[in-house]
Assembly symmetry: C2
Homo-oligomer: 265 residues x 2
């Protein structure tokens, strides 16, 4: 018997999230089915992060135990042949039988993307949240720094969630802007006024030791309110202290969120 | 009667290209239908670039004439309400009746994206060409410089194409790399070997005055051969001089190509 760890990437657009559900396609469900067929035994994976419906991943992690003689490193190649094209194993490797993807200490990195322009950009629509309301990156970046460190993030946790503690540690929050160009210049024969049609993609990159349910999306929703000038940056301190979901901004839409990587410490 | 110019963005994945066809959904076909319904008159747009099936655009251009009293700038808002979400007008404006999107001198910018990693990345699959064969950016960038200037690009034109001249001017070709991270670090309890799973996205950005049929995709295919070491960078000079399609590399797949912008001079 050996324990195998998979680094799993997927486009969450067409899935009801990671976790198996009575109805609806899930990442976990597809992995269990394809692995069981491939290895000829009943396989159930354990995931590191149970991402919500519509959330994407470049590096989620899952482990499973198998009696198979196929070398762990080869499983990625064989499994990718039977997986749909919106799920791809990035790596498969043997880990110690004690390794558990949620209990083993880790650092997770998420990115939340916001496409900010007068009109949506079709090639951005699946992986960025669109808004035409302008945002000030500096205000977002300033206020984001209040989140760094160990805090009780109760204000950033969906109330449904049952957890023993809402204290978490955020290692870093970076906010930057990526310009998206589709510019019209002045047209010689009296056409376009040369208005800049460029949109901007705002990226919020959060790294921390474990996150609460919807935490990154609530952080993104709160930073958007601050970027729009609806909440002052220094208010972030009060929002954290309130330990009340109502104090924070709305939960930002799933499509903008991508689990970038999980590093085990 | 007024002439209106549209800046049109689309995700080409689900279309048989720009140009109307007897069978198959096209960008031009959808624009004509939605504009005719919106304005209550028969509208036929004229496009600047007839992009191929599967090619994307952030800023293609189309013009049409209308008797409508709706201000040109307002048409974008109204039209976007009836268009499918994978087509979005970025701007609408009145232009002079003489303005023609193909005859009026312009500078076009295309980007070709290549996602280079051991395995495909689902969130990249629709807008980047995937390859697991490593490529040397420096070799690609060096050889790309031979393309800059006015040349007979017959070697970079699909033979089907009927054109009076195959001489074109390329203003610039930039090749750069964008790192895509989904890294596994060492796992405390004897797991991952900390192999870097990061893929890289190679971007080839070409700006020029008009392009031949498939020209950018053949340039990309040739640069890929050079990046893989199959062709020496200085061979690019010979490939141009040959004026023979057979001398250049293969036509790179459509999905990696995006028409970024058209600037009228």
């Amino acid at each position: 018997m050996k324990r195998v760890m998979l680094t799993v990437a997927y486009d969450g657009t067409n899935y009801h999230g990671w976790q198996i559900q009575p109805n609806g396609k899930t990442i976990e469900g597809i992995l269990n089915r394809c692995l069981s067929e491939l290895l000829g035994e009943h396989i159930e994976v354990t995931g590191a992060s149970r991402t919500d419906s519509g959330v994407h991943a470049m590096g989620n992690v899952a482990v499973f135990d198998t009696e198979s003689s196929i070398p762990a490193e080869k499983i990625s190649y064989a499994l990718n042949r039977s997986l749909p094209e919106d799920i791809r194993i990035q790596k498969s490797e043997e880990v110690s039988p004690e390794f558990h993807p949620r209990h083993c200490a880790s650092r997770k990195t998420y990115e939340y993307r916001i496409y900010c322009a007068p009109f949506p950009m079709p090639v951005k629509r699946l992986y960025s949240h669109f808004t035409y309301v302008p945002m000030d990156i500096d205000l977002m970046s300033q206020s984001a720094q209040y989140l760094v460190g160990e805090h009780d993030f109760k204000s950033f946790c969906s109330t449904e969630a049952q957890v023993e503690t809402t204290v978490r540690q955020i290692d870093s929050v970076q906010v930057w802007e990526e310009r998206v160009k589709s510019r019209m210049e002045d047209c010689g024969d009296g056409g376009a006024e040369g208005v800049d049609q460029a949109g901007k993609e705002i990226v919020i990159r959060v790294t921390g030791r474990g996150f609460l349910y919807n935490m990154v999306r609530i952080i993104a929703g709160t930073l958007m309110e601050i970027g729009r000038g609806h909440i002052a940056p220094q208010e972030m301190e009060r929002i954290i202290a309130a330990k009340d979901r109502q104090a924070a901004g709305p939960t930002a839409p799933a499509c903008g969120l991508t689990l970038v990587k999980i590093e085990y410490l």
